[in-house]
Symmetry: C2
Subunit: 324 residues, 2 copies
């Protein structure tokens, strides 16, 4: 078996060495650029880990793994336009460095390139790989649209929110694992368990993100602590707080949500105090644990020697106790 | 065999009856909207014609044909954002009727939907269909980027231009025919001939478009005659005129190209007069005939009874003697 570090090295090397057509440069340079910005690259790692779990050829899984990372970066490139984000991983976003048209069209060709790479699999599994990938790709777009709709909605419930993050974030983790499993010749049942492992893990991961935004260590978080509070982002914490706050807490929370141009430090502190009084952090952690347990229970069901599962279990642990 | 009208009816019915998910409506309503705007729908017709040429099941070709039309409309939706176009087929463009984010994300999901529909083919031809479609999709993006680059370039040659329209317009006609041929169980050789037929026809079609913009009958053209002249669009006619104009003609042409906010009627008349003196219309028609002949010579090589080819030959004739 490969160690996580070995798998990550394989992926990093493959991304660094990948060549794109030289022309038109406005189409392909941004792909090279965004792919080289790094990030955790956990989705391609999941493809390889899943393949390795079933003793499949990790080398054969490399191009599809790259395709998954290509798809993920396509969504980032287009999301950044939609969110008017100036920075991504501390560097200029593509629509800022080039322009919006370049970011639209480069993104489009990345989606095509993702299909090309992901379908570099044996003909025997081509149909299954295609089906799960296309289904996932539609789901991710639905999740992004739903997320944008939430920004202007007053009636987002916790189940709505969980469904949104399932689509926007979690299904791609499930898909990565399932494709890896298929390449590793896993049977349908085990591939589906692995999908469920990834999907539930993805939801737990996003809930952890919501918690870290407020309770993360500023030294380690890498983003501004409280960013979600400043932007009134409808995270699990805010939705839950709106649901259970009463009396003065509710009044104060609405005051901060509706105040135009507030003093940011004061807003972060006051809203965090409300969250603390309501105990929404604990509720979020409980929800996160629920999905983490769901994830692990699906991993359990897969009939391979348990030492082979250590890599994926370690990955899950790391994801859920991370500080950034 | 089916008549062209029967095939068009099948396509129109299929598009009219297609159901999309209800939610999120911002994602799927624009797809329904743009697909219902009509247009010639010649690409899906080509899929069906090619399939029918080889006595394949036209019914089996319907969903992939729809996928090709879906892909074409995805490119229109994104091109309209990039071109800041307010209207498409006389109706509001998606980014105008909704907003730019909706047009980006709906377009993205259309590309995924196109893949889903186009790959609804037998497993025996799935790989070939996927390969030609992905290759074509990248090519169309490259063509669009090259076209945008031409807007700000002073050194576009005729071969550059032909290559750009080959990518932006022609390869999708070739791809439509090839996929239809594959569904009709044509062998590789004949599928490739049909691709070449479509590719050459597509180039001829675009050259005809350039000619019609200036020399079309205003009553029948459907767009403003001279639109390309007003916007200094680098068509075959302009590139050729810049290449061969000398002395006063060259001076006058550059004057109009560089004049800010010119009187449009005067500009159209003057530039058209220059074109007439230089005979660029005849040169464009000669070029168009060359590609039309190339197209037909590939159709000739296909070994099916010549009466089966009448539909495609008729389609080519109609395309090249059209007035809009």
């Amino acid at each position: 078996m490969y160690t996580p570090e070995q798998l990550q090295d394989l992926i990093n090397k493959e991304i660094a060495e990948k060549h794109y057509p030289l022309s038109p440069s406005e189409l392909y340079d941004p792909i090279q650029y965004i792919m080289s910005l790094g990030g955790k690259r956990m989705r391609p790692a999941l493809v390889l880990m899943a393949c390795d779990l079933f003793e499949g050829s990790v080398i054969k899984a490399l191009q599809p793994a790259l395709g998954i990372e290509m798809f993920h970066n396509f969504t980032l490139m287009h999301d950044d336009i939609m969110d008017r984000a100036p920075l991504r991983r501390g560097r200029q976003t593509v629509h800022t460095k080039w322009n919006e048209n370049v970011a639209i069209l480069s993104g489009d060709v990345m989606l095509v390139e993702a299909y090309k790479l992901i379908t570099l699999v044996d003909d025997t599994i081509l149909r299954k790989v295609l089906d799960i990938f296309s289904e996932t790709a539609s789901g991710v777009c639905e999740g992004q649209q739903t997320d944008m709709n939430f920004e202007v909605s007053d009636s987002v419930t916790i189940p709505d929110y969980i469904e949104m993050i399932r689509l926007k974030t979690a299904v791609l983790l499930g898909c990565s694992l399932k494709i890896g499993a298929l390449i590793g010749n896993a049977d349908d049942q085990f591939s589906s368990y692995l999908y469920k492992f990834g999907e539930n893990l993805g939801i737990a991961f996003q809930l952890q993100d919501d918690i870290l935004d407020i309770y993360g260590d500023p030294e380690k978080f890498g983003k501004q602590v409280g960013g979600d509070i400043i932007s009134n982002k409808k995270t699990f914490l805010l939705i839950k707080a709106l649901e259970i706050a009463e009396g003065l807490d509710a009044e104060e929370l609405h005051y901060w949500l509706n105040s135009e141009d507030p003093e940011t430090e004061a807003k972060i502190k006051s809203v965090t105090d409300i969250y603390n009084r309501l105990g929404v952090r604990q509720l979020a952690e409980k929800e996160m644990s629920h999905f983490a347990e769901q994830a692990l229970s699906h991993l359990e069901k897969i009939n391979v020697p348990s030492e082979r599962k250590l890599v994926l279990r370690g990955f899950a642990d790391q994801l859920l106790i991370r500080e950034n």
